[in-house]
Symmetry: C3
Subunit: 152 residues, 3 copies
């Protein structure tokens, strides 16, 4: 027992392990966006800072492809950190292991697919809308469950 307590968050709870796994995947996915933006900037020669552009004797410019990747990244920033906190709290409400695992898995897949159809291969709507909505409703479902559980 003492050992578990020493580790801080308890790994006794299998949902903590599931949470740890999917959150780390989501962080790697978000980190990819930074690399993807840089690669797109190099390819399109569209730098945001004069000191970066100057190294290639270029001027600062905006490019539609770079802006598209940046919008996908910003969409991650709007949706993923709130998932991190809401799903951590959701674990405290004693949810079903099966349902929760599927919520975390579906959220992760939805966010990866969102980036793919938004910025890697642009697929016509409603592909992006559906990916976004899947993540949004999962987060919303958990947030509402949390509010009900902790209101008392």
């Amino acid at each position: 027992m003492a050992e578990v307590v020493t580790e801080g968050l308890s790994l006794d709870n299998p949902l903590v392990r599931v949470y740890a796994f999917y959150c780390s995947i989501l962080v790697l996915k978000m980190m990819f966006m930074s690399v993807f933006t840089s690669m797109t900037r190099v390819k399109t020669k569209a730098y945001a800072n004069p000191e970066d552009a100057a190294r290639f004797k270029l001027k600062v410019k905006q490019d539609d492809n770079v802006e598209r990747v940046r919008r996908a990244h910003l969409n991650d920033l709007e949706n993923i950190p709130i998932f991190f906190i809401v799903s951590l709290i959701y674990i405290l409400t004693n949810p079903s292991y099966f349902l929760t695992t599927w919520l975390f898995r579906a959220f992760t897949l939805a966010r990866i697919s969102h980036t793919f159809v938004y910025a890697v291969v642009v697929i016509p709507q409603p592909a992006r809308g559906l990916s976004w909505a899947t993540g949004f409703f999962i987060t919303g479902y958990m947030a509402i469950q949390n509010v009900i559980y902790f209101l008392a």
Copy 2:
């Protein structure tokens, strides 16, 4: 006791429950910003992606009302995730239950009021500045208390 440890974060601490409640409210508030942006885009016909605009035979354009909602949303991204982490750490410093509950409550109300006066009904300054500053100083107070507590 074993049961509590299995749940990971301890619900024995009443401040964990208060934290869980207000953080979930704040997440719902942030989720509203995404819906609000979409609604404003539809109303003003200002889409950010060519494939979205094309469905209504429109071109991509910027609109002042959409940009205002987006600035309010970005201000949330700048202020709320840091509150999530700072207030979680603050609970570990054994703070007063009464004070902490009021800090969490005031932060939540301040952020809701910030959005309201910024993007729902534009109210002249200092309304927005005061809402922002309330949240900012609460976060700053807790962050400094944390640094002092954990410096030792």
Copy 3:
């Protein structure tokens, strides 16, 4: 023992204390960006909202210095919240105290130096790239360790 459990996250683990300290420093650093943006807006008279500009009988305008500070702030939003979650999970993988303390310390110094060379005193590349990469690889290292640990 009971006391520790009541506190929620266990302070028995010295890495939780190190985590709490560096995360609070990083939050203060991010809060500084908001103040820095405001100060730069006042100095360059570049306000984003018509109601703010109107108080000084100005019109809304963009300024390169303000945009530079805002890019540094956005870079924080892209990199620091993912560190908060990845490093919390990393503590659960029973890492070496010595290594982990240095990872947290190096990340914090790298992010402070990133802002300094990006927006306070503009220092030629590769200063900014190196600061950014230090933080990026630390986060990536921990995220990959987490995925391996929790994959089983």
